[in-house]
Symmetry: C2
Subunit: 352 residues, 2 copies
DNA sequence: ATGAAAGCGCTAACAC
DNA sequence: GTGTTAGCGCTTTCAT
């Protein structure tokens, strides 16, 4: 085996036991703090373990206990700063609880491609999730779930794998979730746009099968309706990926179509940045010719000359609360699903 | 045990063997594709495994083989888009090779705080690295190493844990590395600034103990010297964290000091964004009053009105190559350390 | 207070 | 071609 040759053998609990002249059970007791050894022996064993540079094998421990003492955080796109800010919060909170967070970048397929065409995305996500489970992950933090991921969530529930959804959620699944009131947030954006005199507002949302995106779209449309208006662009143009590229491409189309437009309300910040790219490309002045709004307030939404009007959400807190909710489940709480709505706030800046 | 109660028992290889009426060895052979079973039996076993929803325990596999078939990617700050773009490349490349990438956000201490004061940072990094090792990670991808992390690198070498350094590197350690020619890149920035008529150039670099930051600082200074100039700010003002906050704070100080300055050359993009924030705050026009340059070309360095002059580096490729280099080592290659210098390119944009 | 021993679920000799 | 078996390094009864 390549292994045994290339890798120096680890110091094991048995090595420690041998040197200390005790059984491995005593070593286990001593090191884990369990009762069963005298303080004196405990100290002696600790010293020897230390001396030998012993570190317990988390793999053996995991196999024995069935738990890895780690939680998995699945990121659809690690390149999206909004989610990495959530991740930072999650890691900090888990650290406080003595757990590790192992992050996976799911990649391709999820936020890309058509709305339903990509079962590949669902499959990939499920594969990554199962890999964490097969490593005996104590629980899963899921971001960016789409309707098509419902079977995965159901599987997790059936197999009693603790999981909480962050930000996005699959409707109808009895699962814990932390996020914001997307419908309200979107409404506030529209009202702000209305207040500043905009009337020809195009809507560039996320994926139709994303609950959050759908809620935002509805929030945009409803607020517009309340003012006797409707989006300046047709329904099918309103859905797409929540990426900068998609924002750019859809804005180009929108501008090329020549429909009169004085604002673009985007489903998230990334889309809005793409729209800003398109404005620059096509020579539209923001906000004079056209206003642009985002939603999320990721940190790069406001940098120097770039000052996107958006809705800020407590990113770190989402991560922290998610971890705490997950912990309840890991510890055995089997109460009804908790859905926690965190506060958001409109951030008017320079693009409106 | 909370475990066994709350979690349905997994289907094991033994379950499959029992149902198939064969030994677990045959199941193992059948499923791993090893010889030792007839095609017929193999198929039957596969079908049953499938039927039962059997998935091998990666933990048991790991304990047995000593390898987890996963690689660990340590990110100092998952919130820094430059590194997440590298991460995306690494994940893609590892996927091609049938490995998983488990990402850790090291957090606090690393890129924050003083230069040496924070041994806490080194300790935290080492802890995270060891956690991966104790999970039998096949190898480690390390980013953002500082001089103080040399002991960790030495430990990895001693214990034969394959590791490659991405972008930053600890000098003097015989370890694989992929990155760019920092000194040259910094020089090109200065020459560009000089060409556009700037003469009072302040330098806002990264940490003194970061090899890359030091090389860049030297590149800045050397290019300035070649033109008979020197940085407009004193040496001690040139070092700091590679964060937006640090850029903002140091720029404020710089501007407050009142030294005549017509350009700020930053050690990376994040610092430059902070400087841009300060310019906006203090009413400095960019580039008319002052030019600002970055280094890295992370994707958010150019968005709509934000068009930072910087040096672009092949981010995804760094991740990909890193994984490939790591693989050589995992497969047993024990040749001399490889240092791969990837191309970079000046990207003049609107801040100069 | 301490030790012996039985697994956790898998792989890899080694028998047959 | 197929089965038996001995661990991998731990935790945890159960004896002593």
């Amino acid at each position: 085996m390549v292994d045994r040759r290339s890798r120096a053998r680890r110091t094991t609990m048995n090595d420690v036991a041998r040197v200390a002249g005790v059984s491995s059970a005593s070593v286990s007791y001593a090191l884990t703090g369990a009762p069963g050894v005298s303080d004196e022996l405990r100290e002696r064993i600790r010293a020897i373990a230390n001396e030998l540079g012993y570190r317990p094998s988390l793999v053996a421990q995991g196999l024995k206990t069935g738990r890895a003492r780690s939680i998995g955080l699945l990121l659809t796109d690690i390149t999206n700063p909004f989610y990495t800010e959530i991740a930072a919060g999650a890691v900090a909170a888990a650290g406080d609880l003595g757990y590790e967070v192992l992050i996976s970048h799911v990649g391709l397929g999820q936020d890309a491609g058509g709305d339903d065409a990509d079962d590949a995305g669902a499959a990939r996500l499920a594969t990554v999730a199962r890999a964490h489970i097969d490593r005996y992950s104590s629980g899963l933090l899921l971001t960016s779930l789409l309707a098509r991921d419902q079977p995965l969530l159901a599987e997790l529930r059936r197999t009693h794998v603790p999981a909480v959804q962050l930000y996005r959620r699959v409707p109808g699944e009895p699962s814990d979730w932390v996020g914001i009131d997307d419908h309200a947030a979107a409404g506030e954006i529209i009202n702000h746009l209305l207040t500043t005199g905009r009337r020809h507002i195009a809507v560039l949302g996320g994926q139709r099968s994303s609950y959050a995106s759908a809620a935002r779209e509805a929030g945009f449309v409803d607020a517009l309706s309340a003012a006797g208006l409707q989006p300046a662009n047709p329904d099918q143009g309103r859905w797409g990926d929540i990426s900068r590229r998609s924002g750019l491409e859809r804005a180009r189309e929108l501008f090329a179509r020549g429909t009169p437009i004085d604002a673009v309300a985007c489903g998230n910040d990334l889309i809005a940045l793409g729209v800003l790219d398109a404005c620059r490309e096509d020579g539209f002045a923001v906000p004079d010719d056209v206003a642009v709004t985002g939603l999320d307030d990721m940190s790069f939404a406001s940098v120097g000359p770039l000052q996107l009007t958006t809705v800020t959400v407590p990113r770190e807190l989402i991560g922290r609360r998610g971890v705490q909710m997950l912990f309840r489940r890991i510890e055995g709480d089997s109460g009804p699903p908790v859905e926690e709505v965190l506060p958001h706030q409109l951030r008017p800046r320079d693009t409106t």
